[in-house]
């Protein structure tokens, strides 16, 4: 009960004794847990997605993003390297960059026009030597010690990750071999083309959306549109692969064309003979060599990579206080996409995002889970589908990836 009074005991003892088959609900609304997540997870030894490199293609291009809830600037410097800085002026703390994106030769703070180059180095302090011998910075002021706070950066396949930690493992090691292979499947070295953004602020803790993606069970039950139009079925081939930590996981699906089975009967829609008036919204062509029609990946801590039909997107879950998060969708294709493929990607986007014929279900249900889990007496989720383990698994009726996520979470949070 103590955690209801906002004094969670963040020792391992606070976790239900059943272990990973239970997740305590105070993780979703406790401000102290939230603050600790920012320190240990997002500002700890993690690779945090911040942008696609294609959003800042040229020198001086910049875009705002977040590492956890810390605002950062992603910029391309003159050497062609991507830099990530905390969006805070080292003088008196003003947010350096207000625009969401743009091109700049340097970053100039609005307050006193201190100027930083694209590597974050302090290059200009107006009137640094004072005026007429009066004022100005002390003689020992060393600009080299007052640059922007730079994060470690890694770019792979056109995707930019940043870390507050200096000792985070290399990205390949971080992801583990099976997850790296799936990451490289989508980000295969071809140039990426940004198709646009969708952003939503959802009244739920950020972990709910990671659980949601790691939960194939809900897909045939919640997403009536999928089932009604036979795009998804409970007995399709489905596999999940986790890295050793549990922090990264990928799942992939193969469209099958079989008759009804017992499993489909359990999840059949009431609208069995309905047809789309304009079916182009779901007409896809195979595009990956492995023939898999879809793969969803979650990368620790808060990135989702979506490949479904011909829709490709990163989804960045940005925490915004314990009870809210923002989901920033970046839809993309490849530079060499033919026009009809671009058209298809745009059309399939009708299924995703805040207005998605499928994803709107998720946005709404996340809200509903947050409300249910955090209002009322202390409680905990039951996560037993597929047992108690966190191993790779097959089939959609399995919560192994959720358990895997919390295995890593407990490790990092010390709970």
């Amino acid at each position: 009960m103590t955690h209801k009074l906002n004094v969670p005991n963040l020792s391992a003892a606070a976790w239900p004794e059943e272990g990973l088959t239970r997740v305590p609900y105070f993780l979703y609304d406790d401000p102290a847990v939230y603050a600790l997540e920012q320190e240990r997870i997002f500002r700890g030894r993690s690779w945090n997605y911040v942008a696609l490199a294609a959003e800042v293609p040229a020198a001086g291009d910049f875009a705002r993003s977040y590492v956890g809830d810390t605002p950062v600037i992603v910029a391309r410097d003159k050497d062609g390297d991507v830099q990530v800085f905390v969006n805070r002026c080292p003088h008196r703390g003003a947010q350096l960059c207000q625009s969401w994106s743009g091109n700049a030769k340097a970053f100039t703070c609005p307050y006193h026009q201190w100027t930083f180059d694209l590597k974050g180095r302090l290059r200009g302090v107006p009137l640094r030597k004072g005026v007429n011998g009066l004022g100005g910075m002390p003689a020992d002021f060393d600009p080299a010690r007052h640059g922007l706070q730079r994060l470690a950066v890694t770019v792979r396949g056109g995707v930019v990750f940043a870390s507050f930690a200096d000792d985070v493992p290399g990205f390949a090691e971080y992801l583990g071999p099976s997850n790296l292979a799936y990451f490289d499947r989508v980000f295969d070295g071809r140039g990426l083309r940004v198709l646009g953004k969708q952003r939503q602020r959802i009244s739920a803790n950020w972990k709910h959306v990671i659980e949601n993606i790691r939960d194939p069970y809900h897909a045939t039950l919640l997403h009536t549109f999928f089932v009604t139009f036979r795009l998804w079925r409970a007995d399709q081939d489905y596999a999940m692969k986790l890295d050793a930590t549990g922090g990264n996981a990928v799942q992939f699906i193969q469209k099958v064309d079989r008759g009804p089975t017992e499993a489909t009967r359990e999840t059949t829609s009431r609208h069995a003979d309905v047809r789309l008036a304009d079916p182009r919204v779901v007409e896809a062509v195979p595009e990956f060599a492995d023939g898999k029609s879809g793969a969803m990946q979650t990368i620790w801590p808060n990135l989702i990579v979506q490949q479904t039909l011909n829709s490709l997107a990163t989804r960045h879950a940005v925490p915004h206080g314990p009870g809210e998060f923002e989901l920033h969708w970046t839809f993309f294709g490849y530079e060499d996409d033919p026009p009809e493929m671009v058209e298809r990607r745009l059309r399939h986007a009708n299924l995703y995002g805040p207005a998605g014929l499928v994803s709107a279900d998720d946005s709404e249900v996340l809200n509903v889970v947050q409300l249910g889990a955090t209002k009322g007496p202390a409680g905990r989720a039951v996560v037993e589908l597929g047992g108690a383990g966190t191993a790779d698994a097959e089939g959609m009726v399995n919560e192994t990836m959720i358990r895997g996520f919390y295995k890593h979470y407990r490790q990092i949070m010390g709970i």
């Binding site: 602020r201 008036a277 745009l346 014929l357 709107a360």
Partner: protein, 158 residues
């Protein structure tokens, strides 16, 4: 296409009736405010200004409007709510081969069951209208949300 001039009262009525159909939950009445070959798009100022083609919702035919209505009424899960639209500043701004060009501003208010009414969105619409018989219809309707950030989700058209 017809060059019949647009009656301002018809334009006002089109905006009013289309908003009322959605506000009153009579989604099945909504596609009839559009021409068969219509385009209906909801996007954000951010996407529009960046030249990004993605939209929150993008229908290329009246068929897609019907499919959206089917989803809203039969397949989508969402917490019960009601929306209320106020449309202002409707005006004709020119004409093209596709019809007369109109603009309007809007605010959408949303009320979730058991909650206060909140401001859901504001923005403007860039519209093309023309007569089909006596009825003025949208040939093209692009609703541009001022905010990049949708509050929770957008199950309904704007």
């Amino acid at each position: 296409m017809t060059t019949r001039p647009i009656d301002r009262n018809d334009l006002a009525a089109l905006y009013a009736e289309c908003a009322a159909a959605l506000d009153d939950g009579e989604y099945e009445r909504w596609p009839a405010f559009f021409t068969e070959d219509c385009s209906y798009v909801v996007t954000t100022k951010e996407n529009l200004e960046r030249g990004w083609p993605i939209a929150l919702l993008s229908c290329e035919s009246r068929g897609m409007l019907l499919d959206r209505v089917f989803a809203v009424q039969k397949t989508l899960f969402y917490v019960p709510r009601v929306q209320r639209r106020l449309v202002g500043g409707a005006r004709l701004v020119g004409a093209g081969d596709d019809g007369a060009h109109a603009r309007a501003s809007f605010a959408v208010f949303e009320t979730l069951v058991g909650e206060h009414t909140t401001l859901f969105a504001a923005g403007r619409s860039l519209d093309v209208v023309r007569y089909e018989g006596d009825a003025l219809k949208f040939a093209k309707r692009t609703c541009v949300l001022d905010s990049s950030l949708v509050p929770n989700s957008l199950p309904f058209p704007i």
